[in-house]
Symmetry: C2
Subunit: 197 residues, 2 copies
């Protein structure tokens, strides 16, 4: 009997492809095994179980997305960097919807596994770096990073959920949202009275 040559990474990639094709919640051990030409029990030598597989898909996606963003923003600053960052984010979500959905479940990933993945940490650094040109200082910087991530994620999540009716294309709203965020970052409002540090 020929060996299939499985490995944790190959199983993860097969799961990620399946997630993009049929949705993350349709990713099952049986389907992944079928795609790899193997019985489902064989996967358990490489992956602890379904939750572990989903966690690995999430970390794979986080790494891939971070790399795309890093390439897109390299050598850019200010508005250019913001637009490149945001478009790379959205492109990834559109192109790999299943993988992207996996990134939303980060709460219950094996910490040991997550510690090795550079994606999330690097993503945070990238976002801070992108904002360098706007001259924000802590804690405004952290607040701005969180606002941007929220808006980017929220936009693509609502797009994926069909939350935007078709009167106006979501592409146009996206461009205008980036305009708005850029001007917002240029004139970040000072903290109002009564906000303790």
């Amino acid at each position: 009997m020929a060996r299939a040559g499985l490995t944790a990474e190959r199983v993860t990639v097969a799961g990620a492809e399946l997630a993009d094709e049929v949705g993350l919640d349709q990713v099952t051990m049986s389907q992944v095994a079928r795609r790899l030409g193997v019985k489902d029990a064989s996967l358990y030598s490489h992956v602890r179980g379904l939750d572990d597989l989903r966690g690995r898909i999430a970390l794979l996606a986080a790494d891939e997305k971070t790399i795309r963003i890093a390439e897109a923003t390299a050598g850019r600053a200010g508005r250019d960097a913001l637009v490149a960052f945001a478009n790379a984010w959205r492109d990834y979500a559109h192109r790999y919807p299943g993988r992207y959905a996996a990134t939303q479940i980060s709460i219950r990933i094996d910490p040991e596994l997550a510690a090795e993945a550079p994606g999330p940490r690097r993503a945070v650094k990238l976002t801070y770096g992108m904002l360098r040109g706007y001259g924000l200082a802590e804690p405004d910087l952290t607040d701005a990073v969180r606002l941007l991530r929220s808006t980017f994620h929220g936009f693509v999540a609502l797009e994926a959920a069909g939350g935007f009716a078709h009167e106006r294309s979501s592409q146009q709203s996206w461009v205008r949202a980036l305009d708005a965020l850029h001007t917002l970052l240029e004139r970040w409002p000072p903290s109002r009275e009564g906000d303790p540090p």
Copy 2:
């Protein structure tokens, strides 16, 4: 044998409660049936299946959330309305995490069922109404509505996923995000060159 007195709505509510307790993806026909003291096959007289149940939970959540927002924003305008709107949204997501998660799957809900639910339509109206005081005209109005919804949803989604580390409380970032959105709405940037309507 005593009748359990099931109905589509009671099944939906049981599913919603279960979703809040154990997570939406742990909501199963068997668990819901157990909670209602009934065999799982009995549920199929009231609900078409698991997907249908999830769709009903989503519509229930949309209605509930819209009502909370409507109550919170009644009689308010400008910044007050914005803050009340956003806090009602976030409170709902925190208090009913399973129901809230259900609202993200709106893409595959039975259209016939969705047509009867007033929640989504009313939510859109509410958002437009809240922005009335800022003096925006179409298509900026639609773009602003989408930006706000994206940010609100993205923030609570990232909070739920554990996306915000604990250096700075997410509550503080939330307050500052609302500040930022308010000033942004007051000075909505004009459309840049080359944006066709």
